[in-house]
């Protein structure tokens, strides 16, 4: 940094005093840097960025003399978006095939954030793997933990005590709100509305404060343990959650005032990225995206886990399956989450927070699939136990990964600007797509 700064600094000084001799010209300096970079460059002509999908052997030398007739006749343009792009919400690369501004097709290139979570799981004990699941969907870490802990509990045939179940539901639903807030802020920002970002982040902070006070972490919380909870709710936890609800409920109206009838918002979202119910089912799409297409399906209702059957709430759905409906569904889900938290916080029973779980966990030989309704959709864990302390295999069924597959169907025939809107409305987290 200092090198570059000083070059520019002295060069700028030079221009004034008109005396350049000993100082190298900027162009020379640039060439030296380029030489340096060339040493690292690959022999195959690939850049140092390691862009995938290009096999150097298949590349023919660039011919600038004769124009590529087929390419021009087709009237098609291939452009690359990402992996470093502010609107892809992470390292997602999309290759767009365009006719003018219309999207004819696209291909997603993923895996830039692949860390081999499933491989790591096979080399850790059940307890040790628990914090890793937080790093998949890192904006909804609590939900990931709930799914994993419940799956292992099923395998061990233990159940978390009632008090732990209630606190779990409160934290998970708070996390759902936080996840939807982050989605709303960034999605609106992508489309051009900057104010919702400040509003949602201001309110999300209150949830993160509760998480921080409960377990010390704000994002990757590791809030739950196999068999229940590690920490008792802190002094004043219930009061603070209630305070949050009174604070937050009117804020949802504020978000709606900004967007729901906003003309720009309507123009950018209505009829954009439409997907029909049957298409969504065929593509395995779940969560708010599926519900906005009119399929009333929520695992909390269909196959209740934790103690969701104790609470009354609605499953909001849309009709058109467009970006606007998905916005409405997620807004309505925030209200429903508030309703669940309100009931849960009023009914937290006294009692233990941890079930009797052996210190060394050796689940009997067998396999289990357990899934929960994460903020993004169906999050499933398939665990194979061989009777040892380490899982033989853990497969994570990630909602973001499967939902992202629908991007092509949703974008075909739309404009380039709509691709941004659709990526936003799918609410993907690349940590979970790539695992």
């Amino acid at each position: 940094m200092s090198g570059y700064r000083s070059i520019w600094g002295s060069r700028a000084g030079n221009d004034h005093c008109n005396d350049p001799p000993e100082i190298p010209r900027l162009a020379d300096e640039g060439a030296r840097l380029r030489d340096d970079a060339d040493k690292k460059a690959s022999p195959g002509g690939l850049g140092t960025d390691g862009i995938r999908m290009t096999d150097p052997n298949t590349l023919s030398p660039l011919d600038l003399e004769t124009p590529d007739k087929t390419f021009l006749d087709a009237n098609e343009l291939i452009i690359n978006m990402g992996p470093q792009h502010p609107a892809t919400h992470g390292v997602l690369r999309v290759i767009l095939r365009l006719d003018g501004e219309k999207v004819m097709g696209l291909e997603c290139v993923i895996g830039y954030l692949h860390r081999g979570v499933e491989k790591i799981a096979e080399n850790r004990t059940y307890t040790m793997f628990n914090p890793y699941v937080d790093r998949m969907d890192y904006v909804a870490a609590v939900s990931n933990g709930l799914g994993y802990c419940e799956a292992v509990e099923k395998l061990l045939n233990v159940g978390a005590p009632a008090r732990a179940q209630y606190i779990r539901v409160i934290l998970t639903e708070l996390n759902r709100i936080a996840s939807h807030q982050l989605w709303l802020g960034t999605h609106a920002l992508d489309i051009g509305a900057i104010t919702p970002l400040f509003y949602t982040f201001r309110d999300r902070e209150e949830i993160l404060k509760i998480f921080e006070k409960y377990c010390g972490a704000r994002l990757t919380t590791h809030a739950f343990r196999i068999g229940g909870l590690q920490y008792e709710a802190y002094e004043g936890f219930e009061r603070e959650v209630k305070n949050f609800l009174t604070f937050f409920t009117p804020k949802i109206d504020e978000y709606e005032e900004l967007l729901t009838t906003n003309r720009i918002w309507l123009e950018r979202t209505k009829g954009v990225g439409t997907i029909s119910g049957p298409d969504a089912i065929a593509l395995g799409v779940t969560g708010p995206v599926l519900r906005a297409s009119g399929v009333k399906w929520d695992i909390r209702k269909a196959q209740p886990y934790a103690n969701y059957k104790n609470f009354e709430f609605e499953v909001p759905t849309g009709q058109n399956g467009d970006t606007y409906d998905r916005y409405l569904v997620r807004i309505a889900e925030m209200r429903q989450s508030c309703r669940i938290i309100e009931q849960a916080v009023a009914g937290v029973p006294e009692g233990p927070i941890m079930a009797k779980v052996p210190k060394v966990m050796k689940p009997p030989v067998g396999e289990i699939y357990h899934s929960i309704e994460a903020p993004k959709g169906e999050l499933g864990y398939f665990i194979v136990s061989d009777g040892s302390t380490q899982p033989y295999r853990i497969r994570v069924r990630p909602p973001s990964f499967v939902n992202l597959q629908a991007l092509e169907v949703m974008c075909r025939g739309q404009l380039v600007a709509d691709v941004i809107a659709v990526i936003g409305t799918l609410d993907i987290v690349l940590g979970e797509v790539d695992r």
């Binding site: 690939l46 692949h114 081999g116 089912i281 269909a302 289990i368 499967v402 790539d434």
Partner: protein, 158 residues
């Protein structure tokens, strides 16, 4: 349902239950047909997941699994079959569109090829990568050093 399928396919299907979850172990030869029947006649219209498990000591090294869900019946079922090293399995993309990426991930991680898949290539790892990481003989620290050196310009990713 299981009784009916059992009557139809006989010894090719073995229905089992563990911890209240139903699954069936089926013969590989039944695979495209049985999945088609489950989708069309038994209303398992949502393919939740496709995955595999590697058992290197077995003669048929791989378990391939389909997790299916039916909206109409509100029921889950797992279909499991065994295949050996180098064997392929018919793709279920014509049955459920969602199988596309899920099968690509199984190929990427285990090297199991799906016949008739429209685009059978790696999905999470780079195209030129050697090896399939979720096989048991692939060590946790192992990686394709050659790829790393050529494409990232560093000695090792460790």
């Amino acid at each position: 349902m299981v009784a009916k399928l059992k009557g139809e396919y006989g010894s090719g299907i073995e229905p089992l239950t563990y911890l209240g979850q139903n699954y069936m172990v089926v013969d590989r030869s039944l695979i495209p047909e049985l999945l088609q029947v489950l989708r069309n006649e038994e209303q398992f219209d949502y393919c939740v997941d496709i995955t595999a498990v590697h058992y290197p000591k077995r003669e048929k090294q791989f378990d391939v699994l389909w997790v299916l869900y039916s909206f109409a019946r509100n029921e889950r079922i797992r279909v499991k079959t065994q295949i050996g090293e180098g064997e392929t399995i018919p793709s279920s993309v014509p049955i459920w569109a969602t199988a596309n990426w899920l099968e690509r991930e199984v190929f990427d991680m285990f090297g199991i090829k799906f016949d008739g898949h429209p685009d059978m290539k790696r999905i999470l790892l780079p195209d030129g990568w050697k090896g399939h990481p979720l096989r048991k003989d692939y060590g946790i620290l192992q990686q394709d050093n050659e790829w790393v050196q050529i494409n990232l310009g560093i000695e090792s990713g460790q």
